[in-house]
Amino acid sequence: MSAQTMPTQQAVSDKVIEVEILRYRPEQDEKPFPQLFEVPYSPDMSILEALQYIKDHLDSTVSFRWSCRMAICGSCGLMVNNVPKLGCKAFLRDYYPQKIKLEALANFPIERDLVVDMGDFIKKLEEIKPYIIPATDDKCLSEGTYKQTPEQMEKYKQYSMCINCGLCYAACPQYGLDSKFTGPAALALLARYNRDSRDAGSAERMKIVNQEEGVWSCTFVGYCSVVCPKGVDPAAAIQLLKVESSKDYLIGMFKPD
């Protein structure tokens, strides 16, 4: 672009980057179509900020989800050049001067533009009982808190970092082939609670793990762990659950319940 060769002052604001967004407005579009926008480039601008620029200055009808702008809320997941990313954690400088292609998260139905229907993931998340299930002979509140050693916490801490952004579901080829698969984030969170020393719900959750659509739909592609913005490593969580499920299978052979 000629702007690059221009002397100082105006040069920075003259740089533009092309952003192509896959639009879909169900009430008027028969099918999704790409729309091209030109956004002023600056190296510290995130893709989410570029989307906000488009909405504020170019086309107010573009829909996308966002909230925290700091990779905590997990709302702004989208496909950037076919790779699942958080809009707030991906920067224009990593793509410039190439065009950026933005699409709604893969493997989920598009609700509108970059907004997807995460209903299936939320249903699975609920199903794995993502909360501590205390033992039945639980102690009274007046007896104080449950203490945990640093070692006990280390066993599950990594898997508790999940922000439910759904990037791993967009990355998972097995979920793409068959959405009955419980999927990476739900299984990583299942592992998180099963590995917690304060939890007594393992037996209930292992029933989900042991199914075909539990851990056994996973073929350890590992892309979920690559795209995870929080370093949760769901692929490792699933592999560990496969070992647990195998132990459970052997025990079940001799002691059927």
Partner: protein
């Protein structure tokens, strides 16, 4: 009525069906481990060290190998070396068929894949049993 009970038991009891995959995954894992460790060694020995004359080819002569395979310790080693990588391979093929989107006849795919691994394992087992000289 117990209010707490009704709020926690809203979902109807779901039926969970246990998968038999642990058996095949176990064989797959064991076979994969063997393949990963032994294939480079085999390539090194048969593809490089013997042709280069660094190992005397006489060590892998028919008589020597036949003697090893028909011994009480050689037979089970050969059975494991043939059967486990075979189970590994066919498990991978079975899952690759799914990855390629071939949805028809999953039951038959399973029977053919694991059936083949089983049949060859049994064949090798009986063959080794016949060769066994105690």
């Amino acid at each position: 009525m117990n209010a707490q009970q009704t709020t926690t038991n809203q979902l109807p009891e779901k039926k969970y069906i246990r998968s038999h995959e642990p058996i095949f995954w176990g064989l797959f894992g064991a076979g994969g481990m063997l393949t990963a460790f032994l294939t480079p060694v085999m390539v090194l020995v048969t593809g490089l060290l013997i042709p280069l004359g660094l190992i005397d080819a006489e060590h892998l002569s028919y008589e020597k190998l036949h003697q090893f395979v028909s011994s009480w310790y050689g037979a089970p080693i050969v059975l494991v070396l043939v059967a486990l990588p075979l189970w590994h391979t066919l498990h991978r093929i079975f899952h690759s068929l799914h990855d390629l989107g071939i949805k028809r006849g999953r039951d038959w795919q399973q029977v053919i894949c694991y059936g083949f691994a089983f049949a060859v394992s049994v064949f090798v087992f009986t063959l080794l049993l016949q060769m066994l000289s105690l």
